[in-house]
């Protein structure tokens, strides 16, 4: 479930000093007034 993937210049909008853990792709995040699965389908 929690596959590790290296963050690269092609899949990250800004450089970050860490690698992203993919985890569960359906985990919800909130941005602005809405929360969604970063697929992105509005929840």
């Amino acid at each position: 479930m929690s596959e590790l993937t290296e963050t690269t210049a092609t899949d990250a909008p800004a450089p970050a000093p860490f690698a992203m853990i993919a985890g569960d792709a359906s985990a919800m995040v909130c941005e602005g007034d809405v929360c969604y699965i970063p697929a992105p389908s509005v929840e």
Binding site: M1, S2, L4, T7, A12, P13, A14, P15, A16, P17, F18, A19, M20, I21, G23, D24, A27, M28, V29, C30, E31, G32, D33, V34, C35, Y36, P38, E43
Partner: protein, 233 residues
């Protein structure tokens, strides 16, 4: 030992014994941030005796800076008005979140929730951090907002909540009215932007791994275990 002579310390002893730092960007008004908080806690607890020491720090992320402090209407009204979503659809969304929250042991009441600007709540979290009470205050603010329908945008209400976690009322009020932690809030937001963080919750584990969203507890447990192993290696 026994001769009064300190044993030489292993050169890596201090490094190995350092707690794992977990930096969390979140907003009090973010339903998935409270759920993610619980999942993280469950993940740590699931490690039992093997759980390494962790040091959790909350960072500010203001989801909707244009939100008014006082909004007349329900959460459904707010989302329907701002997003143009049908009320029926908003109800479905909120029912879904409420169900997931219940599975995490949280009791959400969107019908009594008071939508508000969270800037002052973030300032208070920085004030509490300075005094070592940030984790307690974070939990208190989330519960006040999602479960109790408290107004976490008003100074008077925030001061009352601050005292409930052992903070001094006068000092908390001064911190809020002077806005002296506003710069710290903006610094957190700027750091999030620099990292490319667009949504919350967002977790950075020991500065090495990023975890986005309200991930299941197993993901947090696995990430923490991995970091602990790497630190001990």
């Amino acid at each position: 030992m026994g001769l009064g002579i300190p044993e030489p310390m292993h050169p890596f002893a201090l490094i190995v014994s350092e707690p794992i730092k977990i930096d969390i960007w979140s907003d009090i008004a973010c339903p998935w941030c409270y759920i993610g908080k619980r999942h993280l806690e469950e993940g740590i607890t699931s490690l039992g005796d093997d759980a390494p020491d962790v040091e959790i720090t909350y960072h500010s992320f203001e989801l909707a800076p244009d939100t008014p402090i006082d909004f007349e209407g329900s959460e459904v009204d707010f989302l329907a008005k701002h997003k143009g979503l049908p009320a029926e659809r908003v109800h479905e969304m909120l029912d879904h979140v409420t169900g997931v929250a219940a599975n995490a042991g949280l009791d959400y009441h969107f019908d009594t929730l008071q939508h508000t600007k969270t800037l002052k709540a973030h300032e208070l979290l920085h004030f509490a951090k300075q005094l070592g009470r940030q984790l307690e205050l974070s939990e208190r603010l989330f519960r006040a907002y999602f479960t109790e329908g408290r107004h976490v945008g008003r100074v008077d209400e925030l001061v009352e909540l601050a005292t409930e976690v052992g903070l001094d009322a006068d000092e908390a009020r001064e911190a809020l009215e002077s806005s002296r932690f506003a710069g710290a809030v903006q610094a957190d937001i700027a750091q999030a932007q620099a990292y490319g963080i667009n949504g919350v919750p967002f977790f950075v584990i020991d500065g090495k791994y990023g975890v986005s969203g309200a991930q299941p507890s197993e993901v947090f447990a696995q990430a923490i275990t991995q970091v602990a192993g790497e630190k001990a290696a």
